[in-house]
Amino acid sequence: MKRISAITEADIVEAVHNARAKRTAFEIVSAGSKRGYGRPLSCENLLDVGSLRGIVAYQPEELIITVLSGTPVDELDMALAEKGQRLGFDPPDLGPLFGAKPAIGTIAGAVSTNASGPARVRYGAVRDQLLGFRAVNGLGEAFKAGGKVVKNVTGFDIPKLVCGAFGTLCVLTELTLRVFPKPSRDQTFVIRDMEPREGFALLRKVWANPLDATGLGYYANSIVLRVEGEEEPLAEKVRILKRLCGRHILEGADSETFRTIGDAGAFLSSDEDVWRLSIPPSQAAGVLDRIRASLWVADCAGAVLWLASNNHVLVRDVAKAVGGHATLVKADAARRASLGVFAAEDEVRAQLTRSVKAAFDPLRLFNPGRMWDGV
């Protein structure tokens, strides 16, 4: 495999033009921490964009930041924290799940996998916060989409489309993200030994309350809750939380618990396939009853379930039956290739997916096959 290291957008344009002439495809990487996520690739070239790195513009009072795509999420987090702000999608560090070192993942990787952590339950996912971007498409043209202000509806919302597209549409070079103020305090609580049906019901009860919890998880038989705010407001939120939990005892817990939930930290040594299910929260207990996974963790009040299972038919059928979907996040390459990371699409949808891919990358130069065969 030939490694092409891009330092500027112009380098990428040139690389794409060469690839077009030779019809050779790229695997696009920055830190490469999530290369094991998605169907396996066998590309002639590796396009490394990890050197496009750094903050282009940051105006805290505008609540936006513009960065080059290979900027490590950690670097971005630190720059924001200095101004009392943060990324709203609560970026998880999924690298270690795929055997990479911790804390090396880049913002382009987070965007391309729409990787969003526990606070997503309050602030939304990456796709809700990517306001604009620059990229190079499969025609070798640099283009931009979206804008650099928090409120914009000019033209198609292509930023949403590149979130979670696994680098199959274009090579991202610059990203503009909405950011959020970070309250000075937060508190995490656990309620131990909860039976799932009762535990999920309680999570939904807190979710339906305007105290704006920023973490609603289920980990190691305990439900885990997080609230944030300044001193007085936080105290009031804790009082409300206690009232909502009634007879259950809230124990103070390490805020790292939510890191572990978001990073799928419980699954690092799983020898079964690791799945992430998106389901209606009210179905969480029922779904777990049917799948009977050896290991599971819930996030977002039950809307997100991580679980270990080699029974792909059962996992996908159960998720689909409740109107959700299951993503095969971690498995060996052969299984990812044969089972698919996403469920097979019906004919109408598959046709549209291929057309959208072709609209950006008609020669299928970028990560071909990472999402589906040919896409």
Partner: protein, 493 residues
């Protein structure tokens, strides 16, 4: 601005088309000239155009049937909700079928366990909140036309409202849709679950202004109603102080539920109209809402008050629900208040980086003199979304042309200072010619290729968003649907 030219081949077959549509939607076709006058435009009132015919389906299958028919005969489709678009998004075409979704107006499911509502596209924005408010929930996006505008239209336009900075636009509160594609095939995207299964097609359908598909069902997120809301009025003698105050509030880590700026002209117009009690000596006022749990609201209101005073504001808090309502009534009356000053009005919608506000306001005042027109400014200050209201009289000489030129100059200024053409109203017909000021050829070509992926024949809402819709070219060859010429097979009915 010129309206799109009607294709005479289609217009010549109008009677046949109406007859065919009547077989598809027996009780829902409007074909008489006089009746079509009721459908000749939207809230971009300077432009009027009767559609070829208007169809009002009652079901998804009827929508699909109309789309299949239009695709088979290459007849343009213009989808329409309540027709409240300020950018001409629902403006009909003389050679196009106007597809009105207002009879699909049932709420299909209220599912509070999953904090969502499933609705047909013609349900009004306000009706969604009304369906859940007894249970302590609401639907957050609240465009000012919420009493009339439909959820289908909101999705097409990615509508905003006063509370976007804290609660997001429509797209951030949308969980799923079912859309009918150009040939009538239907696709379910998302559902009661977070995140896309594969490409986030839902994300790009939201805000696509009817160019990619027709929403036939929507699943939207409900929020628990905050238990407390408090409102402050801050009056400033200098506009830059108001701008600094907004920046300081955000920098202090506060995201108010709403933060609205009105300039002196607007204050005067509103006071004359409904006397909400704004100080007439002020150059600008900010109306600021904080919401949440009571201690959080108290904390934020105290900080906001401090910051406003530090920026030389006179601060007053609404002490009763009635006073709160009155302060907001003034803001919401900005349109009708300005409307009393002249027969016609254009409402612009650019967004700017907030720090550019003083500079942009100064420049706009200079422009108003150049164009010899009255205007005022209301501004979603939290997110930098400007709504200059330009008043004019269409019947007087070249005033419409001058108003449009003034509006275009304002939007170009917004782009120049790092902003965008439209924050929440959409591009529609109104701003399509301005797209090249914000996007270069490659940017626009990429958007058009995406359009082609959904609608290769350009039948869905043609003439909107893009200055020119180029033919869809697939790498190396032009798209020709089944080798047919437009309308070649019409005579068969």
């Amino acid at each position: 601005m010129e309206l799109p030219k009607a294709n005479p081949d289609i217009v010549a077959h109008r009677r046949d088309i109406i007859a065919a549509l009547r077989t598809l939607v027996p009780d829902g076709v409007v074909g008489e000239e006089a009746e079509l006058a009721a459908f000749d435009g939207d809230a971009l009132t300077a432009y009027r155009q009767k559609p070829l015919a208007c169809v009002l389906p009652r079901s998804k299958d009827e929508v699909s049937a109309v789309l299949a028919f239009s695709a088979a005969h290459n007849i343009p489709i213009v989808p329409r909700g309540a027709g409240t678009s300020l950018s001409g998004g629902a403006l009909p075409r003389g050679d196009g079928i106007l597809l009105s979704l207002t009879r699909m107006n049932r709420i299909l499911e209220v599912d509070l366990e999953n904090r969502c509502v499933v609705a047909e596209p013609g349900v009004t924005n306000l009706a969604i909140t009304q369906a859940v408010e007894a249970h302590g929930f609401y639907y957050a996006p609240d465009p000012s036309s919420q009493i009339a505008c439909t959820i289908g239209g909101n999705i097409a336009e990615n509508s905003g409202g006063l509370h976007c900075l804290k609660y997001g636009l429509t797209t951030n509160n949308l969980l799923g849709v079912e859309i009918a594609l150009v040939g009538g095939e239907r696709l379910v995207l998302g559902g009661k679950v977070p995140g896309a299964d594969g490409l986030d097609i839902l994300g790009v359908v939201a805000g696509s202004e009817g160019l990619l598909g027709v929403v036939v069902e929507a699943t939207v997120r409900m929020l628990p109603k905050p238990p407390a809301t408090r409102t402050l009025l801050a009056a400033f003698r200098k506009v830059p102080d108001a701008g600094q105050c907004v920046a300081d509030i955000i920098a202090a880590g506060i995201v108010p539920a709403a933060m609205e700026f009105m300039d002196k002209r607007c204050i005067e117009a509103v006071e004359a109209h409904c006397a909400p009690g704004y100080p007439l000596e002020a150059e600008g006022v900010l109306i600021i809402d904080a919401d949440g749990v009571p201690a959080e609201v108290d904390h934020q209101i105290a900080r906001i008050g401090e910051i406003a005073r530090r920026n030389f504001a006179t601060v007053r808090e609404a002490t009763s629900e009635a006073e709160r309502a009155r302060l907001w009534a003034g803001r919401k009356a900005a349109f009708p208040a300005m409307g009393r000053l002249a027969p016609d009005m254009l409402c612009m919608d650019g967004t700017i980086p907030r720090r550019m506000l003083p500079q942009v306001l100064t420049r706009m005042s200079e422009m108003a003199e150049e164009y010899r027109l009255g205007f005022c400014n209301v501004f979603h200050a939290g997110d930098g979304n400007l709504h200059p209201l330009i008043i004019f009289d269409m019947m007087k000489g070249d005033e419409l042309a001058r108003a449009e030129a003034f509006g275009a100059a304002i939007l170009k200024l917004c782009v120049e200072v790092g902003g965008v053409l439209t924050g929440e109203h959409g591009v529609g017909l109104e701003k399509r010619e301005l797209m090249p000021t914000m996007f270069n050829e490659a940017d626009l070509a990429q958007q058009q290729r995406l359009k082609c992926a959904f609608d290769a024949d350009g039948l869905l809402n043609p003439g909107k968003v893009f200055p020119t819709l180029s033919a869809c070219v697939e790498e190396g060859h032009m798209h020709v649907k089944g080798g047919r010429l437009p309308f070649a097979n019409l005579p068969r009915f």
